[in-house]
Symmetry: C2
Subunit: 136 residues, 2 copies
DNA sequence: GTCACGTATTCCCGTCAAGGAATATGTCGG
DNA sequence: CCGACATATTCCTTGACGGGAATACGTGAC
C-alpha cells in the first residue's frame, strides 16, 4: 500500500482523526488524550500505534509518560500530494481557455469539456455536511 | 463520522486512491478506469460509489457511458483542513520569534526550532516508515 | 526489592468492508 | 421490440479492524 494510502487510512478512523486534531493544539501524553476524548487508554495506545506507523505522530518518553506530538513531515507530504491536484484544475482550465482563444470551435468530440456545471442526482456530499451514506 | 474522516477513509483504500490519482489526469469512463488499473468493472463501480458519497468525484452520463471526474470542492476542503495544521507550525515559530524579540533574545540564531516541549532534532519520518516507538 | 503509576500488548468477539461471480438496469442501434 | 454494450447492484465469503477486558512491560518512589 502506498504511503499516502496508509496515511489516509490512518486518518480515516474517526477516533484517530480526533486524536490528530487534538494534538494539533500541542503534544499530549496518552492518558491526557484518553481523558480529553473520552476514550479508554488501551484504545488510545492502539490508535497512536497506527498513527505512528503511518508517520503521523512521534513519541517522546518523558519520565513514566509518553508524550505524543504531530510529525510535521507527514503533513508536509500530504500538502504536496494535494498540490499535485490543485495544479490539475489550473492546467486544464488554462488549456481550455487557450483552446477557445485559438479559434478552435471544432472541438474533438472526445475532448472533455465538462469541467463545470451539471451534476446528475448523485453525491451531494461535502465535508461539513453529513453524507447520505448509510451511517449506523 | 465527520465528513473529513469519511473523505480520508475513502482515500485510504489503495484501489480508490489509484482511481483518484488516475482521474487527476482527466475524466474517464468506468470501463477505461478498470482497463487502466487492471481492475474489474464491478469493483470500479463500487469504488466510484464510495468516492462519490465522499464527495470526491462527480459523474456525467455521456451516451451509454458514465464519465467520472474529480470534484474540486472536496480537494479544496482537504487543503483548508491541512492549512489548519500548517498554521500550528507557523504559530509556534512565530511565538518562538516573538519570544526571542521580547528581550530574552541573546540566543544564537541557529537555535533548534523546537516545539513547546523541546524536541530532539532528528526527524527521519517518511510515510511508510516505522513506528514511533524507539526501536532499541 | 517492592509497589504504584502510566502505557503497551494480547486475546476475544462482533462488525464491516472488499473482492468474486452473477445478474439487474439502462441505453443505443437496427 | 430486440440485441449488444456499458455500468450498477446484489449475494456471498473472507479477512481486517475496532472495542472491551485482562494483563504484561517499564519507570520512578520508597
Amino acid at each position: 500500500m502506498s504511503a499516502a494510502a496508509a496515511t489516509f487510512a490512518a486518518l480515516g478512523e474517526p477516533s484517530r482523526l480526533r486524536i490528530v486534531e487534538l494534538l494539533r493544539t500541542g503534544p499530549r501524553a496518552v492518558g491526557d488524550i484518553a481523558d480529553a476524548l473520552g476514550l479508554r487508554q488501551p484504545q488510545v495506545s492502539k490508535h497512536l500505534r497506527v498513527l505512528g506507523e503511518a508517520g503521523l505522530v512521534r513519541v517522546r518518553p518523558q519520565a513514566r509518560r509518553r508524550v505524543y506530538s504531530l510529525e510535521q513531515d507527514a503533513f508536509d507530504d500530504l500538502a504536496s500530494w494535494l498540490d499535485s491536484f490543485q495544479r490539475v484544475w489550473e492546467t486544464r482550465l488554462d488549456a481550455l481557455g487557450a483552446l477557445l482563444e485559438s479559434g478552435a470551435a471544432d472541438l474533438p468530440t472526445d475532448l472533455p469539456t465538462d469541467l463545470p456545471t451539471d451534476l446528475p442526482p448523485s453525491p451531494p456530499a461535502q465535508p461539513g455536511a453529513t453524507s447520505p451514506t448509510q451511517e449506523t
